[in-house]
């Protein structure tokens, strides 16, 4: 009653202001619809805008190990053999014009093209490759992915520091344009292996201008300094904003490169990325929130793509500490997870429940189906592990890296263990991606979420990592039988016998159960119709030089 009049009119003004600003908020997006979106402009300028997951750790092929980083490196560098745009098993000549193996596939000769050039105009020679392999294998480099080169004779011993002389490692440059790789064991799939980012060459002059050969993270990877031999060169790198690649004028096949540039955007959250795609900010998303899959499926001309992806989603168990050091306990955990429910209701992207570790996409390989969902068995194993009920199990923690999808899967599994086994003290801990990687590497965890994407299409890329002390093992698991079977398999040149041996090894792995397989990946992403020549690939390694951008007809999804 006593409230002064001015107050009321003030309120009225405030209300009007709020209403008008609300109206403005509603009208603004409508107005902006008529403008050309960023994607439309980029299509016109032939610049591909890619969502690329996390911020790249490095642009040095010897330091990276994540999928997003490899996506950028594929634009900036070119290896001996490159990926075919339509199939993972076909090869396209890269720096090597042609290649030939000896009779038992243990020695490979690569004949390099003479017109291949670095982005500063220097010719690419076989010495650049031997220099790169020397660098990645050097013990002082401590490259996280050096084990990819263990195919080469003596490479492992050199990497461990047991051999000091690099000349003993099985790679030689014969003249400037011939590279000879001598392997430890026959590998008929070797051209697939050298497509991987770890086999890329590096420019010696540039690296040594900014430090020693083995120095990590020097200035050489900065824009302006960076020298590559790929179809594109590094133009700009702004942390947490973008990496821009522009055509490399010295690239040998520059005439056939269709794009005028690629911009990589580090967008970690699938939700943010989906919004960016919907608002015409990127051509292609790296991931996709599960909750929106259904609504995208219903759209006409949906940009949603669901493709088989050569990867396995699993939980690592730390076998060096209680309670996960007990194999029966790990078996109990594995048998109490209903994987059907997880792929059907939690991940929702057409994934396949995994009852083995290696995905079935590997041709001719039949993984043994050892694990299942059986509560009787799970409870038996729990008893065998020495727990009369789940309540006696001491507290343990599931480590996940921060992502909604991982959190949902972890919460579903936590609840399954509680419902099915009565295990109550399971905690979930979120960690930022880089912290999480270090935690797993240092084995400061009980159970850790993990995913493994094949580096090439062969079970070897999935099974090789569980060998004792492999740099990607990180569980502490070690089994002499397993190591022996894997060694034996690598000596066999008959493909069928080799795969049978690997299947035998996988049975040992699944019996020891240092990992709880959960599902086999699909790649779920959004693709703008302007992008041409982007075919489904098992490994998802698309050679950018074949990708084109053509404005799609009107009426396509916005």
């Amino acid at each position: 009653m006593l409230r002064p009049r001015t107050d009321r009119t003030g309120q009225g003004r405030l209300l009007r202001l709020t209403l008008s600003s609300l109206l403005l908020l509603i009208l603004l997006p409508l107005a902006s619809c008529r403008q050309e979106s960023r994607v439309e402009r980029a299509t016109r300028e032939k610049i591909l805008l890619l969502g690329n997951g996390a911020e790249p750790k490095a642009l040095d092929p010897h330091l990276v190990s994540s999928v997003g980083d490899a996506n950028i490196l594929r634009a900036l560098f070119e290896g001996l053999v490159i990926n075919h745009p339509e199939s993972d098993t076909l090869h396209e000549p890269g720096v090597a014009e042609r290649w030939e193996p000896n009779a038992d596939f243990s020695e490979w000769r690569f004949f390099l093209r003479t017109n291949a050039k670095w982005s500063n105009g220097d010719p690419v020679t076989a010495h650049d490759f031997t220099y790169a392999y020397h660098r990645i294998l050097h013990p002082e480099m401590a490259a996280p992915y050096a084990s990819m080169l263990y195919f080469l004779k003596n490479a492992e011993a050199f990497n461990r520091g047991e051999i000091k002389d690099f000349a003993e490692v099985g790679v030689k440059a014969v003249g400037d344009h011939e590279l000879v790789c001598t392997l430890d064991n026959p590998a008929p799939f070797f051209p697939d292996v050298v497509k991987h980012t770890t086999w890329l060459p590096v420019h010696r002059g540039t690296i040594e201008k900014f430090g020693k050969m083995t120095d990590n993270y020097t200035e050489w990877q900065k824009p302006g300094n960076h020298v590559g031999n790929g179809p594109f060169q590094l133009a700009e790198w702004r942390i947490n904003a973008h990496v821009k690649a522009r055509p490399n004028p010295h690239y040998w096949d520059a005439a056939n490169v269709k794009l005028k540039g690629i911009d990589f955007y580090p967008i970690e959250s699938p939700f943010t990325e989906e919004k960016a795609f919907r608002n015409g900010l990127i051509h292609l998303s790296y991931s996709m929130p599960e909750s929106l899959i259904e609504s995208y499926r219903k759209q006409e001309n949906s940009p949603l793509r669901i493709e088989t992806y050569n990867g396995s989603y699993f939980y690592r168990c730390n076998v060096t500490q209680s309670p996960t050091d007990n194999a029966d306990f790990r078996r109990a955990l594995a048998w109490a997870i209903d994987r059907e429910v997880i792929v059907k209701y939690v991940t929702r992207g057409g994934q396949t429940p995994a009852y083995a570790f290696t995905p079935p996409s590997e041709e001719g390989y039949h993984p043994p189906q050892v694990v299942g969902y059986d509560l009787e068995k799970a409870r038996d194993y729990l008893k065998k592990a020495g727990y009369t009920s789940g309540k006696d199990v001491p507290e343990f923690v599931i480590i996940i890296n921060t992502l909604e999808a991982h959190k949902n899967i972890a919460m579903a599994i936590q609840d399954m263990w509680k419902k099915n086994l009565g295990i109550e003290k399971v905690r979930i801990e979120n960690q930022e991606w880089k912290v999480y990687q270090q935690t797993v590497l240092d084995m400061r965890y009980d159970v850790a979420r993990a995913g493994w994407i094949g580096d090439y299409v062969d079970p070897q890329t999935f099974l090789g990592m569980w060998v004792t002390k492999d740099s990607n093992n990180n569980t502490g698991w070690s089994n002499a039988d397993y190591d022996r079977l894997l060694r034996e398999s690598s000596r066999l040149s008959d493909p069928a016998a080799r795969l049978a041996k690997l299947a035998e090894a996988e049975a040992v792995l699944l019996d020891g159960m240092p990992v709880l397989p959960l599902y086999w990946y699909t790649r779920v992403y959004l693709l703008h119709p302007d992008v041409r020549n982007w075919h489904p690939l098992l490994l998802d390694n698309h050679p950018y030089k074949h990708i084109g951008l053509v404005p799609s007809e009107k009426g396509g999804p916005q």
Partner: protein, 306 residues
């Protein structure tokens, strides 16, 4: 009438205390009273209602019953009959019960962290203001320095060091929020300590601590109470910010902040997951703010007349 006189005498002697005056004034402020009752109600249902049997466990998942609307009853594939008062989330958990349990965390953080900041802030500010001089200058510079440190970064460093734990949240927030409180109390004490009743106390030979704790601090209570009611919502917002950055409560537990974050992510497909917790959180913040305003007017009648 000796009896009547003595009654009058008692009435005069008793007078009307500051608290009683304030309460009477507060009661006339309907908005503040409604807010007070609403706050009590929210605290009650968050802490007591989950104890009632029949309220579902907030962390039990029914993945096949995801994203159901409010007031649905459904049978899960395990054959369990579930009733969802406010619908279910993307893992088939009961949203109503998650909001209740989330409220426990948010309110506990709100009140406990405020209590921590209140204790530190009042003592620090009172000592600084009363002692004055160089000690005061030094103590206030410490506050200035702490003010300058970015809060979020301190919390991130602490969580990487101690792991992501809930008690850390109380400590972190409490340790940051006391700064403003100490400045307010210091200002009050500076003006109070020159007044006659303090001089009287000093001339009576009371010890410094006794003057400080018996005579100075009780007289600063008005602004302190007001600021406290404003701190509680601020702290709850901070907790929401931290949960939003995945630094607060760990899954599967929820706080209002983390529920809102999850809801914001799923806004496009399931807006109810955002709307319900946001409504409850927003209403609680509003009522605490209104209550704070009401208390300020009640405890300091002069300022409300302007």
């Amino acid at each position: 009438m000796p009896a009547a006189t003595s009654k009058n005498a008692i009435a005069i002697e008793k007078g009307s205390s500051l608290g009683r005056d304030a309460w009477l004034r507060l009661r006339k402020n309907h908005l503040a009273m409604a807010s007070l009752w609403f706050t009590v109600f929210i605290v009650f249902i968050s802490f007591i209602l989950p104890l009632v049997p029949g309220i579902p466990n907030p962390n039990v998942t029914h993945p096949d019953l995801q994203s159901l609307p409010a007031f649905t009853s459904a049978k899960s594939m395990e054959g369990v009959e579930v009733f969802y008062l406010l619908g279910s989330d993307h893992l088939g958990r009961d949203v109503f019960s998650r909001i209740l349990h989330g409220g426990r965390v948010s309110l506990a953080v709100g009140f406990l962290a405020t209590f921590v900041s209140l204790t530190i802030g009042v003592v620090y500010g009172a000592v600084s203001g009363y002692l004055g001089g160089r000690i005061d200058a030094a103590m206030m510079r410490v506050v200035d320095i702490l003010y300058a440190l970015p809060f979020i970064i301190i919390v991130i460093i602490l969580t990487t060091y101690f792991g992501n734990q809930l008690w850390l949240l109380f400590v972190c927030i409490g340790a940051v929020e006391w700064l403003t409180m100490s400045r307010i109390v210091r200002g009050q004490v500076l003006s109070l300590k020159r007044q006659e009743f303090i001089e009287a106390a000093r001339s009576l030979g009371l010890s410094q601590w006794r003057i400080l704790f018996r005579h100075l601090i009780p007289n600063t209570l008005g602004p302190v109470i007001v600021y406290t009611t404003l701190t509680v919502p601020a702290v709850m917002r901070l907790e929401a910010v931290l949960s939003f950055l995945s630094l607060g409560v760990q899954p599967p537990d929820a706080s209002w902040g983390s529920l809102i974050k999850e809801g914001a992510d799923l806004m496009g497909s399931d807006p109810a997951l955002l709307i319900y917790p946001a409504l409850v959180f927003g209403a609680t913040l509003f009522s605490l703010n209104f209550l704070g305003d009401g208390l300020r007017d009640a405890l300091d009648p002069k300022s409300s007349k302007d």
